[in-house]
Symmetry: C2
Subunit: 249 residues, 2 copies
């Protein structure tokens, strides 16, 4: 049986004059792309049907090899290459590195490391055939099994999302540029897995407005009956704000 690397068609380059150590080793960048599905009222994780061995045909995290050639100038470039590829192909409202794991067992081919990222998509999007949205919770707690140690990676990313949401505006990244206070309450409650009082969220939005991260639009959104919702607008879409207190629990 022969393993092939995903999207790899090069001869191993060697720096001339530099006798380098060569060994079976893979370093990948893997993305956990998250999305708030309003229809299902839950967070979704982007998975990709693998084309190459190992685990061809299985759903797994989108990833690229970074030590395969000289295509990227940096890890950031590798992340952008992956984002722009057909494995992802979505605009990211947020992306941050979470950690790196590496051991001799996680990939059947060889010793390998993965540097993994939390990414958030805010817009409703079309996926390709080989892509799918899966329940983040189900993947994180092992209800949906992924190859390699991808379940562990997803669990670590979910934990980062949770802990950072206790004291930052991160969850608002799921809502895009314009949203309402009730929507903010919903997404915070979803991410923190408990009801969050609307008054607490309103105070935090007020704080964000004072800090210049947010502005009232004067426009209204219509929810499910009842009074319409006033909307606010993110002024610094790519930034998150850190509050000086956590939500308790």
């Amino acid at each position: 049986m022969t393993y092939l690397l995903d999207s790899l068609d090069y001869a191993p380059p060697l720096l001339e004059g530099h006798p380098m150590p060569l060994s079976a080793y893979l370093h990948t960048v893997d993305l956990c792309v998250l999305f708030y599905c309003r229809a299902d009222g839950e967070l979704k994780l982007l998975l990709n049907k693998r084309e190459a061995e190992p685990f061809a045909g299985h759903w797994a995290l989108p990833g690229v090899v970074v030590n395969g050639g000289v295509q990227d100038l940096s890890l950031k470039d590798a992340v952008e290459r992956l984002r722009a590829s057909d494995k992802v192909g979505l605009a990211l409202a947020w992306s941050e590195q979470v950690g790196t794991v590496g051991d001799a067992f996680r990939d059947p081919r060889c010793w390998s490391s993965s540097t993994y990222y939390l990414a958030i998509v805010s817009d409703e999007v079309e996926l390709a055939e080989h892509q799918g949205w899966f329940s983040l919770t189900a993947v994180a707690d092992g209800g949906i099994k992924l190859p390699f140690d991808h379940n562990n990676i997803v669990a670590a990313v979910k934990e980062r999302l949770f802990s950072k949401s206790l004291y930052s505006s991160l969850p608002l990244m799921f809502l895009g540029d314009e949203f309402s206070a009730p929507q903010a309450t919903t997404i915070f409650s979803l991410v923190l897995e408990r009801p969050v009082l609307k008054t607490s969220i309103r105070q935090r939005l007020l704080k964000l407005a004072e800090a210049g991260y947010l502005r009232e639009t004067g426009r209204k959104k219509h929810g499910e009956g009842g009074r319409p919702q006033a909307t606010v607008e993110m002024l610094r879409p790519a930034e998150i704000y850190f509050f000086d207190r956590s939500f308790a629990d």
Copy 2:
């Protein structure tokens, strides 16, 4: 000119039957080992005089190559191998992964990545000839120049130490198992680079005691004249506690 890897004496292993991509690539684990020097009243960073090229003879962060062979079973093992080596050789009161950088330029030999860690030593220790304690601040802001991108790595670790110290008990790791409230006040003020009120620290220590992380010993320490300091004892030396509020600013 020929470059040699640090402590490398192996033939590149290949998994038989698996045609693997081979390319000039290095993945290292690098440690930022910190220490509170009471004599100088500042935080120190452990540096190592490099034996091998590139930058032989220069002071740099202690590190090991992880894709050089099959000695380690995981990144954690690589960290432990580095810790136990003569590059470090110290007991660590705390250690956590901070991030991974990688690009084509940071190492003159080839494309390389570094997964770097924040580590804390609490005990007064003896260093070997090739080791030294340097001012953390001076290294982080470039007053002391290091090879590779080690200045940036140190700055990132210092930033992590700072931000995590706003809402956790992390700085207490510098003090060992038994310490006093005034000592805690000193280390928090040092790490946060501003005076922290002793009353705030006392309340946090009280919180830690309630949570079972801490106990009063009944013993006393003598500072510089004045009333002796009551000491407390860490009950969970390897754990940090997260407070639900940040220090302001």
